[in-house]
Symmetry: C2
Subunit: 337 residues, 2 copies
DNA sequence: GGGGCCCGTGACAACGTTGTCGCCCACCGG
DNA sequence: CCGGTGGGCGACAACGTTGTCACGGGCCCC
């Protein structure tokens, strides 16, 4: 910038003014400066600018695995919103490790990101409170965190499972099974709880066969045989996420009788399978978008007033049942075939 | 840092030394400094550090759409490598727009990223040459760019299609069709060219029915009816990517006769469909990993010697044919059923 | 004609680090 | 007792910007 100033025979500050479109520069002078900028190929150093201004115009996102379609859709939505607010997005995968998550967060904090969006690897986040103080807003997404007052954007896991159960019951199913994913995941536990509560509410409490992953294919086949066996055998299964759904679909091929299914999470090609798979769909785009909005609204509030920050908000997004064909030929009136 | 210095009754520079694990500080003094750091919750400002040192320890990645599983896998691989080199990753989606790609690149350059990995929206990139000079290494991935000397990591699109055609021919198919995606994509054009060249080499040049997307379902059904009609009708199709594969699978349902298929791009659930879909698989992880390695090897070379940079390299990754069941019951010996 | 005002511009400090250099002191050898 | 040596530490400048203030000159108004 000092080179540009010399080249255009003006002061450093005048170049700064031109670069920032500040008023108080004669158009003629500004043109000369712009000409010098072009001639020298000058490019403002945003790092120095940020050092001066105290904001980096960037936010950090920690997910479990960017390569996973669910999180990549979420990432895409966050990036879109960030770009709309003229912020850059830095993202990294914690790969399920709380330790790695923490080291990523520290790296982000060292860079002075303006805000953080985190898919927490584990609930406990008290360590984060002193780190961010009330300077760096944090929003948790997909799973809540404890030990810290921060916004969270979640989906209605229990409600989603409830809609699946109700749908199956309406189609004449009386005995259901639930195949959840690894119980160490919060979402897996929530969905299981939703299943239990739904059955209880429907007075069908006797019919709950429940298992939690991870599964080996052979074990899963054996389990399903046991569950479907005899007059009290189940006729339908609710799965806890798309990973389990895929495993179940493989296992079902080795069974003699068909089994009705509602999967949690929609997936591409669900409508191309035979039968097409009915699913509880959650919307990762909406999740990311809401989280980003929550973050930027904190950021705006921070810039505006200097009052105490408002209380932590929690946003719960609904799920949507997409009925395809995997729930059997039973009619709504309950006359089982 | 100056606060820490006061608190520990040492100079600013000594704190810096402790923070950077530099030698020349008495253990006793260092402990006192560390104590003060803890007491005050000090955190080094990486922005200022980078300003001083001239490197940001971050790289930029521009893809077409982070939300797309192919690019998200690529992004994940790049991020993994970057983390291994203690670099942070900034990523953004150009959404197919050359203009948006350019504005993202400029934003990255303003931040002084150490290097760039780009999935180019269009080939022409002469504008980038002066922007990066020989200061910021660039690696193109998935598609090549013109007008600039830079490394590129691609996959063997033509070879992939060739393997598909050869497989179909070996299974007794004599007349084939090719359904490509939008010809404005470089990869779509390459794959089409691969199809034409393969047929030509096999002396089966007479059997090439070719169409390029995008497609409407109804049009696609009509097209397939025409292609399969009569004694000269085709018996197999090669698709140009997974989007087209999905559309084809929908269209095929409305046809009376089965149609053999090799899809370009593998996809989850390909083995759960009936019949399971044979595909030419490309590996986005490897693509991202190779691109990141190429970039960091440039970066290392830059740091090491100050000689002229070496010539641009081009890496072409192979594809893999995954045989499932969608290529008909014909035997390898050619005795058509 | 003099005082006030606004416009265009520049000098200077500051943001939070790190590299360079030099100072002080303890110790050692002659 | 003196000169040299080296370990521990501090002063200062620099990285590339932006915010604050001050200055000179032209204009307007009474």
């Amino acid at each position: 910038m000092v080179d540009v100033a010399k080249h255009a025979h003006v002061s450093l500050k005048t170049v700064s003014r031109v670069v920032n479109d500040e008023p108080g520069v004669r158009p003629e002078t500004a043109d000369r400066v712009r000409e010098s900028i072009r001639a020298l190929g000058f490019r403002r150093n945003d790092g120095a600018r940020q050092l001066r201004q105290g904001r980096t115009s960037s936010i950090g996102l920690v997910v479990e695995d960017i390569g996973n379609p669910f999180y990549s859709a979420l990432t895409g939505a966050v990036e879109r919103v960030a770009r709309g607010h003229e912020h850059l997005l830095m993202s990294a995968s914690a790969e399920g490790s709380a330790e790695r998550e923490r080291s990523i967060v520290e790296a982000f904090l060292d860079r002075r990101v303006d805000g953080l969006i985190i898919v927490p690897a584990e609930a406990e986040h008290a360590w984060l409170t002193p780190e961010v103080g009330d300077r760096t807003p944090v929003v948790f997404v997909d799973r809540p965190a404890t030990g810290i007052a921060a916004d969270a954007v979640l989906i209605d896991n229990r409600g989603g499972v409830r809609s699946a159960v109700e749908h199956l019951v309406a189609h004449g199913h009386r005995r259901l099974g639930f195949l959840g994913d690894d119980g160490s995941f919060w979402t897996a536990r929530e969905r299981r709880a939703g299943f239990e509560a739904s059955l209880h509410n429907l007075g069908a409490a006797e019919g709950g066969n429940i298992a939690m992953g991870p599964y080996e294919l052979d074990d899963l086949v054996a389990l399903l045989r046991a569950w479907t066996d005899g007059p009290d055998g189940i006729s339908a299964v609710v799965t806890g996420n798309n990973r389990v759904t895929a495993q179940l679909l493989h296992a079902v091929r080795q069974l003699d009788s068909p089994l009705s299914l509602v999967g949690f999470d929609d997936f591409e090609y669900a409508d191309l399978l035979d039968p097409p798979v009915t699913v509880v769909s959650q919307n990762p785009d909406a999740l990311g978008e809401q989280a980003a909005h929550a973050l930027f609204s904190r950021l705006d509030a921070q810039a505006g007033s200097d009052g105490r920050p408002s209380a932590a908000r929690q946003i719960v997004l609904p799920t949507r049942l997409i009925v395809r064909g995997s729930t059997g030929r039973h009619d709504t009136d309950g006359s089982a075939s």
